[in-house]
Symmetry: C2
Subunit: 222 residues, 2 copies
């Protein structure tokens, strides 16, 4: 006469902890197996839980992916912050920021793809982002707390560009556009390298060096 129900053994844990656990499992699975292999059911199974439960913590799969993506922004901000510690020359700082961005992307290809090469509906906070850029353009100070993680990262790059412009070292003074161009340069490099790894690119180090070199020569006035 053992119990009919075969020991459900469900461990209930507090919502916050479960959310964190799910995110952890999902993040690992995503980084290892890619987006397609990371299904709600597989995540749930690995977390020792039912798929339906995931929906108590994340509105849908996009929301879960967005959360993973935001984790990456934290990582990226870390790379960029560390890169300029103790560096004072504006040009050196800009170089360091670019290098940090590219390195972080190449180090975390899956997450980079998710964060920057996928149009996650939830990540697109159009109006917010535009407003942020408007205010920056007008030179308004913006509190850290107000910023999206993505904004913080781009903001870092933009600030580095602004510093170089302010030091009167550049050909153009259009900080906004210049920042976008610099971003595009770095982003292009990362995204090509991580998605066409069979193209036979020059060694990554050389590629990154030459790219940063070229962009700065283009940016700075002779």
């Amino acid at each position: 006469m053992t119990a009919r129900k075969p020991r459900p053994t469900r461990k209930r844990i507090d919502a916050g902890a479960r959310r964190a656990q799910i995110l952890q499992v999902a993040g690992d699975m995503f980084a290892k197996d890619g987006i397609d292999a990371t299904s709600m059911r597989r995540i749930a199974a690995k977390a020792g839980v039912t798929a339906a439960l995931l929906y108590k913590h994340f509105a849908d799969k996009d929301a879960l992916l967005t959360a993973i993506s935001e984790g990456f922004f934290v990582t990226l901000a870390g790379y960029m912050e560390k890169a300029i510690e103790g560096v004072n020359d504006p040009v050196a700082r800009l170089k360091a920021q670019m290098r940090a961005y590219v390195t972080c992307g190449i180090d975390n290809p899956r997450a980079y793809h998710l964060a920057f090469m996928t149009a996650l509906p939830r990540l697109r906070r159009g109006a917010e982002m535009k407003a942020f850029r408007e205010r920056r353009r007008r030179g308004e100070p913006i509190a850290e707390v107000e910023m999206t993680l993505g904004m913080k990262c781009f903001g870092r790059l933009e600030q580095a560009v602004a510093d170089v412009v302010e030091a009167k070292l550049t050909r153009s003074k259009d900080v906004a556009t210049l920042s976008e161009v610099v971003w595009a340069g770095g982003h292009g490099l990362v995204s090509l390298v991580i998605t066409h790894d069979d193209f036979g690119f020059s060694p990554t180090g050389k590629l990154v060096d030459q790219s940063i070199e070229l962009m700065l020569h283009g940016l700075l006035r002779p």
Copy 2:
């Protein structure tokens, strides 16, 4: 006593025509609704055919997408070819190639995403591509026929860079790396603009102009 089977009305057409028709339908649907909404069943329905039939013409969905993607390479090659008609100055030619690349990408965002921002298994002909680049590096001539469509497009860009290098106008002489850097610049621009259309970028025209300007200043020696 009408026929029991309700008039199958199956129109049989020749395999080649059917393949072309499917490709057409799939291409249109993909360009309009994106990759997720373009399911095998929806394609089949719109083509007036069963999903199973698609597999007589394409090994799997990837193969179908690859075919669409290759159609885009034809378009891109067209843009690039047209752009340099009658242009003789090497610097002007390089500029024209870059602009054509970027314009084509922005004009066909979905196809661009598929061709350059998605790792389609079938598109990755690693060894082939590497060999092609090796031979180019050694200056061997390569017959048009031998080339993949993708190779042709990159080859065009590389050739334009090579011409500028040969005219002794550049800082560096490393054609291979330089070409990759130039490609990355253009690619970064396109891919950012088409995937983060809510970021509040500077007007595209301005962005493209400044980007090309900057890259060329970086490339050319003073």
